[in-house]
Symmetry: C2
Subunit: 397 residues, 2 copies
């Protein structure tokens, strides 16, 4: 049986060069970077070199980068710390209805602590409206958190415009961007984009799991989420995960070198995938912005069938994909993102997400289209829903 992995947005395999990069750190260059001996100093030097390189790749200064255990911790730190450190200025936070659970749940937690949260609505493609953002800003607003690219439908937000809109109204409102889905895939330059805080996660761009980063613009007040030793400039205690940090640097470096080329190739494959689906399967819709979208995302909704059943059937054909996002899949709730873009329950119910990666090839797409066509027809034949009878009488060829 063919095996086709189309769940790169959930996690990516480590690039072989990343695995190699980490090798030295397990039991050769393994010392604690806080140790004062030469072994420790060597570990520290590598750590700082990796920090400097990562900073350079996203347009930051080395001191503006702290390492975390992943995107979730980075988002939690950004939001909770920025809120608490700036609580003296106000208690209002603006975000969107389609953020990742690590943002939305952090905000819910802050609401319990007395903060007020406004979640902006988005348009049918998942984009934030700048006028609505402007209207939402209050004198008490201290933080605006908007993701760079959505994990479920791939829509890219106009972050630079969001930042300038916010800063024009009130310079000292912090802007945070969850770039977990975008960093390593599309250009991210913190200085040009202008945000104060940016989160990312290595395992979304062929780096290892268990490591992420948080960009904290120089001068931004922060309360650590994790207290202890003085690591990471006092902003995040814990012995630094030196192998994974080296792996993340390597992964980001590799991706930066080939980003444009890979993005184009991936988008081409994705567009072909879409085209073939449209040719073979009636009553489907694609979600996300047709222009401002991640090159690797293909979120589709198929009428009259259940997305989970579809994903499981595809799985039996050797195809790995997601319903909604892996991050919230265990909860079994309807996707908040799909609701926010105004999808009806019927479409939401039949949604699956394919996410392509650098190892995806044309054969994968062809195989997947054939399997999808077969599986959709089989499920529709079983479906007790509405005018599905039509499909029984006029089977899709």
């Amino acid at each position: 049986m063919n095996k086709v992995y189309l769940d790169y947005a959930a996690t990516t395999p480590c690039d072989e060069r990343v695995v190699k990069e980490m090798a030295d750190y397990w039991n050769k260059n393994f010392a604690n970077p806080s140790s004062i001996h030469q072994d420790g100093m060597r570990a520290k030097q590598c750590l700082e070199k990796n920090r400097a390189k990562i900073a350079e790749l996203i347009g930051a200064q080395a001191k503006e980068i702290i390492f975390t255990s992943g995107g979730t911790e980075a988002n939690n730190t950004a939001i909770k710390s920025a809120a608490k450190a700036n609580a003296g200025k106000g208690n209002h936070i603006i975000s969107t209805a389609i953020e990742h659970p690590s943002v939305l749940e952090s905000l819910k937690f802050l609401e319990k602590c007395g903060f007020e949260v406004t979640l902006l609505e988005v348009d049918p493609y998942g984009r934030v409206d700048l006028d609505k953002l402007t209207e939402a800003i209050r004198p008490q607003t201290i933080l605006v958190s908007v993701m760079h690219a959505n994990n479920e439908i791939g829509t890219i937000q106009p972050i630079s415009d969001i930042v300038s809109t916010v800063k024009r109204i009130k310079e000292d409102i912090l802007v945070h961007t969850d770039a977990v889905q975008s960093l390593g895939h599309i250009p991210v330059h913190v200085r040009k984009m202008g945000m104060d805080l940016l989160s990312a996660s290595a395992h979304k761009f062929y780096g290892p799991k268990g490591v992420g980063l948080l960009y904290i613009k120089k001068g931004t007040k922060m309360t650590p989420l994790i207290h202890g030793g003085g690591q990471e400039g006092g902003k995040r205690a814990s012995t630094e995960n030196t192998p994974a940090i080296a792996g993340m640097r390597k992964a980001l470096e590799i991706n930066a070198q080939n980003m444009d080329k890979e993005a184009k190739e991936t988008a081409k494959l994705r567009d072909l995938f879409k085209k073939k689906i449209k040719e073979h399967i009636p009553q489907v819709r694609f979600n996300g912005h047709p222009k401002y979208g991640l090159p690797n995302n293909l979120s589709m909704s198929v009428k009259y069938i259940d997305g989970e059943a579809l994903a499981l059937r595809l799985d039996l054909e050797g195809i790995s994909c997601s319903t909604g996002s892996a991050c919230s899949s265990e909860k079994g709730l309807p996707s908040q993102t799909l609701q926010a873009i105004g999808l009806s329950g019927e479409w939401i119910h039949g949604t699956i997400r394919f996410s392509l990666g650098k190892y995806t090839c044309l054969e994968d797409i062809d195989y997947c289209v054939a399997a999808l066509t077969k599986v959709v027809q089989a499920l529709r034949n079983l479906s007790p829903l509405g005018d599905v009878a039509h499909y029984r009488q006029h089977p899709v060829k």
Copy 2:
């Protein structure tokens, strides 16, 4: 030049078998354990197998273990979450003056949030007095946090007695134990010891950096430190660090198999090390409990010289050791632990910590004793301090 690593308490190299164990996870069994496809299910199964094995090795149930990014996050989670989730019952927390910075700084943070903290004094060997503990307990006490073994001087606390003392007075006071220095080195059995919360870190027992665990006794109320997806039973969001967790399980398994034998061998080497130091170097003292101490810890204070200078000179001889602990070494403050055991400034100033490991051999000790003797004499010859003149006239042979 010889290279002798005697800083195993700061961090350990990964065991080769641990590195091998993780290999499959980088780009073969790499899926997100929350994904619903077979790749995800396989990752999930491995994750849960590793959780069950780790739980078994410490006498817990699988559901009582959550994985964290390390000991610091585990300590932060235990303390902050237990405090916040139980704030309705009271606001008083008891700990000791010799805890790791991740505990002490978490407590300082809680003090700012309205909690009251009592730090118990310890005896000259670093042990908690059960009578003083009893006296400190108030009707408002909700949490007692006492480390299993101290990171600087190796002293082991009577945790079982501490737990029973606390529970006898007030059953619902939670007891947390920081077992970062002990797990994998001396027996840890949560059911027998009786605590409600226990933290540990893989890189202290030949596992990888960036992963730790928190035991949370069934029924213990917790507020997550990191919010987001529903991973880890809703207690800690983030894509699970599957390679590192597998590595931690392997490391713990290896250590469990050889624990008694290794502890005895290490203690024997350590005792020989001590004996030889006493024979060759006058005016030294050893810190920590002579009976209740970690087998691998040798904290010593050398009069008339500076511990940092000593460590740096030893480093030039190829020997890696610490002054105090790596975790606080960057802050440059005198060790709180050494102050708490009543050491005078003179002794504190001249303290270094050797920590042995499973790769330490007799030759390492002999080499280290010779280097230490040479370096101490050289530094004392330079020292402007008090009766050091004596050593110039009667050089140590």
